[in-house]
């Protein structure tokens, strides 16, 4: 791909296969897609040769840990959003489990401003449901909703809102401003000290089990609560076949329930724990091959609405140790699209239109982001990603933009590569490089 060296701020993307369809041109001007069609006049525009590349609307992540404020040694808004842009994202939701916790208007506005200053993608802070994520009393959700950050997604992610009354109150309260509660479904008593999926391997490895029922029991309770109070629930990082069944049932009732799955739960299994390498320690844990297949199927049929990365940077020290002492979580932003290509596209479960729906349109709708997730048609915001589906790349943790290195795909070859990302008509990534 080459660009002609002019600086008009207008771009003609030529020969792009929008959603994998027939090649066409796109004119990006004044932050929007001005024209779509073959053989557009190039005029004074910079030409982006997208021959052989697939164009998708810019990806939207519902679940990102940017670690700032508090753990800038692991990630910052600057480095995390750079990773996001390189992964094809134009918007990310920054989780609230920072230090201090994003449970006030002040903290969410700080994160939102840091995102604007970095400029690599839009940062939408997620507000904590409870003060300090302690699960004891509601944070000032209204203040966060009315702040400059206009928070609409609330989550205690990392911890479960396990108290049923508190969860009910949160679901009721967010109705006032169209919010959604994103639940980290984990019954705490069933998972005390849990280290990996409870199953055949946990017994053999002597690692305390994290039973799928601890997730499923909370999801079952929460979909019923959601129906009862007429609110909106989003379920974070669904990991088990049983959870899929409950969600399918809840959706069949017409209840306002959405769910996400992470790329790693679509590709990796608990067998990786036999290495005792904490790179594969994550919460919820990697589960069995049957769970992986059920999650893929659920994403394909729409029972699971979105792919969300749960990008969780951790410092080297927090991973270079024994399993039980290690932090839970893995990087995801720079590999998400490739993993989805491998797990969903190359298996024939989703076409590129499906990928756009699950990684852009639906997550944008769940997060109520007006400026994202639109089809690449004339008049739409010029948020898009160009990817080369024929590329293959071996993941090098040291070549990632993230400040941390804890990718579970180190040394693994993955398909597809992001070539360019545009945020409101401005390239954040060109030729695979951060702009």
């Amino acid at each position: 791909m080459r660009t002609t060296p002019t600086t008009t701020g207008r771009y003609v993307v030529t020969g792009a296969r929008v959603l994998g369809r027939e090649p066409t041109d796109l004119l990006l001007e004044d932050g929007v897609v001005a024209e779509v069609g073959p053989g557009l006049a190039r005029g004074r525009a910079e030409v982006v040769d997208a021959d052989g590349l697939v164009a998708l609307p810019g990806l939207v992540d519902l679940h990102t840990h940017l670690r700032e404020p508090g753990r800038e040694d692991a990630e910052t808004v600057e480095t995390g959003t750079a990773a996001a842009a390189l992964g094809g994202f134009t918007a990310v939701h920054a989780m609230a489990n920072t230090d201090p916790v994003a449970d006030t208007a002040g903290v969410v506005e700080q994160v939102w401003r840091l995102g604007r200053e970095a400029g690599h993608c839009d940062v939408h802070p997620v507000g904590a449901v409870t003060v300090g994520l302690t699960g004891e009393r509601l944070a000032e959700l209204g203040a966060m909703a009315e702040s400059a950050a206009r928070v609409r997604v609330f989550s205690d992610d990392g911890a479960c809102v396990s108290d049923a009354v508190l969860m009910r109150r949160a679901l009721e309260y967010v109705k006032a401003f169209g919010g959604v509660v994103a639940q980290h479904a984990q019954e705490p008593r069933l998972t005390q000290g849990a280290q990996m999926n409870e199953g055949e391997l946990s017994g053999v490895l002597g690692l305390a089990g994290w039973p799928a029922v601890a997730e499923e029991a909370i999801i079952a309770r929460d979909v019923l609560l959601t129906a009862h109070v007429g609110s909106r629930l989003h379920v974070c990082h669904v990991s088990s076949a049983g959870s899929v069944e409950i969600l399918r049932w809840a959706k069949s009732k017409g209840w306002n329930v959405t769910a996400e799955v992470t790329p790693h739960h679509l590709l990796l299994t608990d067998a990786l724990a036999t290495s005792y390498d904490p790179l594969f320690k994550v919460n919820p844990p990697l589960r069995t091959g049957e769970d992986v297949l059920a999650l893929r199927e659920a994403l394909a049929d729409g029972t699971i609405d979105a792919v969300a990365t749960d990008h969780a940077p951790h410092s080297h020290e927090d991973k270079d140790c024994e399993w039980a002492a290690a932090a839970m979580g893995m990087l995801g932003l720079e590999t998400a699209l490739s993993v989805v290509q491998e797990a969903m596209v190359e298996t024939g479960l989703l076409d590129w239109a499906g990928v756009a729906d699950r990684m852009s349109s639906r997550p944008a709708r769940i997060g109520l982001l007006d400026g994202h997730g639109h089809a690449l048609e004339a008049g739409a915001p010029a948020n898009l990603v160009l990817l080369d589906p024929a590329a293959r790349r071996t993941i090098d943790p040291f070549a990632l933009a993230s400040r941390s290195r804890n990718t579970p795909y180190a040394g693994r070859e993955l398909p597809g590569a992001v070539v360019a990302t545009f945020l409101r008509g401005v390239p954040t990534v060109l030729d695979g490089k951060l702009q």
């Binding site: 017994g203 490895l205 039980a324």
Partner: protein, 323 residues
């Protein structure tokens, strides 16, 4: 043999017999006035204990010293480790000191595996008990003890084919049970694990053994009954609430005189120690002629000598003994 001993599964049938036979030869040393061989002179064995276990540590220490190795005891309790020094930094320190073998006891399952496979150290790693995972030298000394007691005066070269071993107690948290199931299966024994359902791990159906909730139903056909330590804290709510009371546990799963009476005459009673007398095992049973508990301690030294010898000497001949 592998360079490391991390799991009961690391030993093939031939490896296991080699360790047991070597231990038999080394055991003869215990009867001599000078209980020392020059075999590992100049080699350094580090006992790296992140968890208190005096009996295991002194057993390894005695084993290494009888082979003339230099022994360094590194107890993490009260050292820099408890102040946050990582497993890795400790390992690098030991590497810098030139450890040929590291005997590691750790509260985290898999820590010896990490030590062996992370490139932090070059020496052999011997797992002396990791979390709720494995304790392979305990399984070896148990197999050694069974073979001596059940296979007569000439145990050399024999395995445990057809022997029925009943292991009773907190299997969920027991590294002894895991290593024994793997090693005893390799040696041909038929293992039955007996415990209340709360103390058997999910997925145990895939283990190479059978399970039962009924101790009384297993006793008459057992050649060996091995009682595992059950921590009293397991019955508390904070400890997981695995059983209602010590008294109920003892009634249903404790080995008392009444139950011992049901055992075949030749059957032996084992316990890896430390015991809760009156809980999983009655005092009179622990002290009876069937009990091998003290022998197990003695045998532990011989078996650990064999393991260190085979991992470090790179030879299978013990010339000083056999000559």
């Amino acid at each position: 043999m592998n360079r490391h001993l991390l799991s009961g599964a690391d030993l093939s049938h031939a490896d296991a017999l080699l360790v047991l036979d070597t231990a038999e030869e080394l055991a003869q040393l215990a009867d001599r006035p000078i209980k020392k061989l020059p075999t590992l002179r100049g080699r350094t064995v580090v006992n790296l204990f992140f968890e208190d276990s005096t009996r295991t540590r002194i057993s390894f220490e005695a084993a290494a010293k009888r082979l003339s190795a230099d022994v360094i005891n590194f107890s993490a309790k009260g050292s820099s480790v408890s102040k946050g020094e990582s497993l890795k930094d400790t390992a690098l320190t030991l590497e810098a000191m030139g450890a040929d073998a590291v005997v590691v006891r750790h509260h985290a399952s898999g820590a010896p595996h990490r030590l062996a496979h992370s490139g932090w150290i070059r020496g052999s790693v011997v797992n002396a008990g990791d979390g709720t995972h494995e304790h392979p030298t305990q399984a070896l000394l148990d197999a050694f003890t069974m073979r001596r007691r059940l296979n007569g005066d000439r145990p050399l070269g024999t395995d445990l084919t057809g022997r029925r071993v009943t292991i009773v107690g907190d299997v969920l948290h027991s590294r002894v049970a895991r290593s024994n199931v793997l090693l005893l299966h390799t040696l041909g024994a038929e293992v039955t694990l007996v415990a209340p359902p709360t103390l058997l791990p999910v997925g145990i159906d895939a283990w190479p053994c059978t399970t039962s909730y009924d101790l009384d139903g297993e006793l008459a056909k057992s050649d060996v009954v091995m009682m595992l330590r059950v921590q009293r804290e397991r019955m508390t709510t904070e400890g997981g609430g695995f059983f209602p009371s010590a008294r109920e546990y003892s009634r249903r799963y404790g080995l008392d005189r009444r139950r011992v009476a049901v055992l075949p005459d030749h059957a032996i009673v084992m316990h890896p120690g430390p015991m809760n007398r009156g809980m999983e095992i009655a005092a009179e049973v622990a002290d009876s002629a069937r009990s091998t508990i003290v022998e197990q301690v003695t045998n532990g030294v011989s078996v650990r000598m064999a393991v260190l010898y085979l991992l470090l000497s790179g030879s299978t001949e013990i010339t000083e003994v056999t000559a």
